[in-house]
Symmetry: C2
Subunit: 227 residues, 2 copies
């Protein structure tokens, strides 16, 4: 039963059709489905140190990937939702990735873990897997570059407005159910600065601030702030 579930999840990987029947069986054997409670760490990679999880396929829930300063400041670099694949949790098998990331469950999350060892074998054995891993890594890095570019070049107002707009598009709702602290982590800023900025938005009638949520009341004005 659980084995069928694992196979079903694995079959969504773009390289699945390129595996031999034997490689498919070994992959199913080398995977497991794990539940992560909201707020628990999924992966703490210090390249070359610590555990290496493997490829992560999100089944339900969501995880947040961030970088961490020595002082403990977190900057979110991307989030993953149902159906997404995380490579950075398998960075031990991609020696060109020399970059430390941390992953935490944003809500109760179920994910399939494809073991790092099996992935390393497949990268060696199967060209389609190698190609998938490297092209995906370059794609992901390109996205992260954009995030950094926004952090360096956009004002805090623009970053918060962009985040609210993206979050509203993603959830198909004008109600963003996040705390100011969470918005701060997603936009690479401090909680106090987020509260101040959101109050400014509220005074201009762009949002309404309610307990535990932010309601977008003027999406056009929000888009104007995004620039």
């Amino acid at each position: 039963m659980e084995r069928n579930k694992r196979e079903e999840l694995l079959s969504r990987l773009p390289f699945w059709g390129d595996l031999s029947p034997m490689q498919k069986q070994r992959s199913i054997d080398a995977s497991r489905i794990i539940e992560f409670k909201k707020g628990t760490p999924v992966h703490n990679c210090c390249c070359g140190q610590g555990e290496c999880l493997g490829l992560l396929l999100i089944q339900t829930g969501s995880v947040r990937t961030f970088i961490l300063s020595q002082e403990g400041r977190e900057v979110t670099i991307f989030r993953l939702f149902a159906g997404d694949v995380c490579l950075f949790s398998a960075s031990c098998v991609i020696k060109q990735i020399t970059f430390d990331t941390h992953i935490v469950a944003e809500e109760d999350t179920t994910a399939l873990i494809f073991s790092a060892g099996m992935l390393a074998d497949l990268i060696r054995e199967n060209l389609a897997v190698e190609r998938y891993i490297y092209t995906s890594a370059v794609e992901r890095f390109s996205e992260v570059m954009q995030v950094f570019q926004n952090l360096l070049f956009m004002s805090l107002e623009q970053r918060i407005a962009n985040f609210l707009r993206e979050e509203s598009n993603r959830t198909k709702s004008s109600e963003i159910r996040l705390t100011h602290e969470q918005v701060a982590k997603h936009t690479g800023s401090a909680r106090e600065a987020v509260t101040r900025t959101l109050k400014g938005f509220a005074e201009e009638g762009v949002v309404e601030l309610k307990r535990g949520k932010i309601v977008i009341t003027d999406p056009d004005a929000l888009s104007d702030i995004c620039g």
Copy 2:
């Protein structure tokens, strides 16, 4: 004569030995050696728009790769010196790179340009080339990530101290022949802030500021600032 020079430069590419004799001949035909005067743009990539140069092999001199804000602020993401290869000038043939970069000659520079069209052909035809391009891209991205992490998490003092130390190691000299404006571009900061910080370093006896150069007088103190 020039053809021999091109072949000699191309033979330094790690995948050269994996090309067929015919692919080698075509590669030599599809390359040219170009001189860039100090300060001239080598490449202005707006992904999907504008010209696409191809792979760049620096023969002499150096180039600086940077990102550019809408307001014209430049942030250096890496520099290349004799023997280095630049992929980002061929980003049109690596569709996963969706990231805009600009490249400028820092001094009079000679480089071999391996045409984008030929590179695209080789990526399709030859697995060693495809592998080289994608693993190099992931490596380079990892380095750039570190640069961004430093920009986000390190103080300006630390960034300037780090830059001076690296530059001193690279040139094997305690004299850094750069203007404050140049140091500002390399450390992602403003000229005024660099001047202020360097004056602070000078007052502490870490450096001496002379016309057109910065002399490191206390390398241990400089390392202490790097942290």
